[in-house]
């Protein structure tokens, strides 16, 4: 009885060893590996049903391997199992990318809302600044009107200072009285110091045209420098000598010539 049992054990062991020597086909080895990858990666979380299908396909291949290790069915079933595992991974990528796209779409929506809110806020700030600037300009305009002739024109607000008040005849030096007057003008201009200014020098037609041109330029330069010295940004002020070319009155009378001798400060709109 003992020897019979021993023989049976040996026979079973022999059979097991025999089975053990049958190596699985490459297709099955690859299918196992592919399934392992799919089940350990994001596919298990994102597409569990597809991973399950891959497992079922692998089980079929394993069963076929046990039944008939070298059959074409085993190889083909393993091949299909391999593809199903890869398919699960590919579908997981799709799900993940769709989630990314959905998140981006939400962000796009939020961004558009942010842009609209920012535009609204910017507009409010801009409107407030404009209202404040207009108020400052109105104040400056009122102050300037007390000091000089002020006129609204297409080119901007034109402040006209009489040349005889600012300069001695034929000279381009500011008198003390002129400086006092310009201090007051500069003070009013400082309220609008974000605006561009043009200082224009004008003369009457007495003397040569070239002399008048040169004199008007020097006077414009002097006024420009003085306003800058009072704190107005230099890069916003331009000086131009116009000479006798743009009279505002006839040069035939003393009064007309006095009106033509002037400095204009144009505050851009």
């Amino acid at each position: 009885m003992k020897s019979i049992t021993f023989l049976v054990v040996v026979a079973c062991a022999g059979l097991l060893v025999g089975c053990g020597t049958t190596l699985p086909p490459t297709e099955l080895v690859e299918a196992r590996h592919a399934y392992q990858q799919a089940s350990a990666g994001q596919a298990a979380k994102l597409v569990p049903a597809e991973v399950h299908k891959a497992k079922e396909a692998l089980d079929l291949a394993e069963k076929s391997f046990l039944d008939d290790p070298k059959s074409f069915q085993t190889k083909d079933l393993a091949y299909v199992a391999n593809r199903k595992a890869k398919l699960a991974e590919a579908l997981a990528v799709t799900v993940a990318e769709n989630a990314v796209a959905a998140k981006a779409a939400k962000e796009l929506e939020k961004t558009q809302a942010d842009i609209a809110a920012k535009a609204k806020a910017d507009l409010a700030v801009e409107q407030k600044a404009r209202v404040e600037a207009d108020a400052r300009l109105a104040t400056a305009q009122a102050d300037l009107a007390k000091l000089a002739a002020v006129k609204e024109e297409a080119r901007g607000l034109v402040i006209t200072l009489s040349g005889s008040v600012l300069f001695t005849s034929g000279k381009a030096e500011l008198s003390n009285a002129a400086q006092t007057r310009l201090n007051q003008v500069a003070e009013a201009l400082m309220m609008t110091k974000e605006r561009k200014l043009t200082v224009e020098g004008h003369t009457d037609s007495q003397g040569s045209s070239s002399f008048n041109q040169e004199l008007s330029q020097r006077r414009a330069d002097v006024v420009r420098s003085y306003i800058i010295s009072r704190g107005y940004p230099g890069d916003l002020i331009e000086a131009r000598g116009i000479g006798e070319d743009r009279p505002v009155a006839a040069n035939t009378s003393a009064e007309g010539r006095a009106n033509n001798r002037r400095v204009e400060i144009i505050v851009a709109k």
Binding site: Y79, R83, K84, K86, L91, V93, T94, E97, A101
Partner: protein, 125 residues
């Protein structure tokens, strides 16, 4: 009546046997694999590097199946068709995955550019 029942039963058995006979030599169903290949081509698998290989394998599998069928190896042919179908389906999924990836990247880029153009701070992850 008893005879009639016997005749009906015999007839049923005969028809059943004929049908079973037909089943042992089934017509090769190429439809699933050809459909998968066609669908893969339609989603542009041939232009997606990761998918084009599987599309090619699917086509080769289908051709091998045809050859096997012509040689009378119906079972092997049917099995080969399963390979072709699986390859075709994988090619479809990879093509769509690539397209989705491209779309997602574009969507992210649109948001980033929009925020940059409008001087908005970057969204926190």
């Amino acid at each position: 009546m008893k005879h009639l029942n016997m005749a009906i039963m015999a007839g049923s058995v005969l028809i059943g046997a004929l049908l079973a006979g037909c089943g042992s030599s089934p017509v090769l169903n190429k439809e699933p694999s050809t459909s998968a290949i066609r669908a893969a081509e339609e989603v542009g698998a041939s232009t997606v590097p990761s998918a084009s290989l599987y599309l090619q394998l699917a086509k080769e599998g289908l051709e091998k199946a045809k050859v096997l069928a012509a040689e009378g190896e119906k079972e092997q042919a049917a099995s080969m068709l399963l390979r072709a179908e699986a390859d075709g389906e994988l090619a479809i999924a990879l093509s769509r995955g690539e397209a989705d990836k491209t779309e997602a990247t574009k969507a992210i880029e649109r948001v980033r550019q929009l925020r940059k153009d409008n001087q908005l701070p970057r969204e926190r992850k």
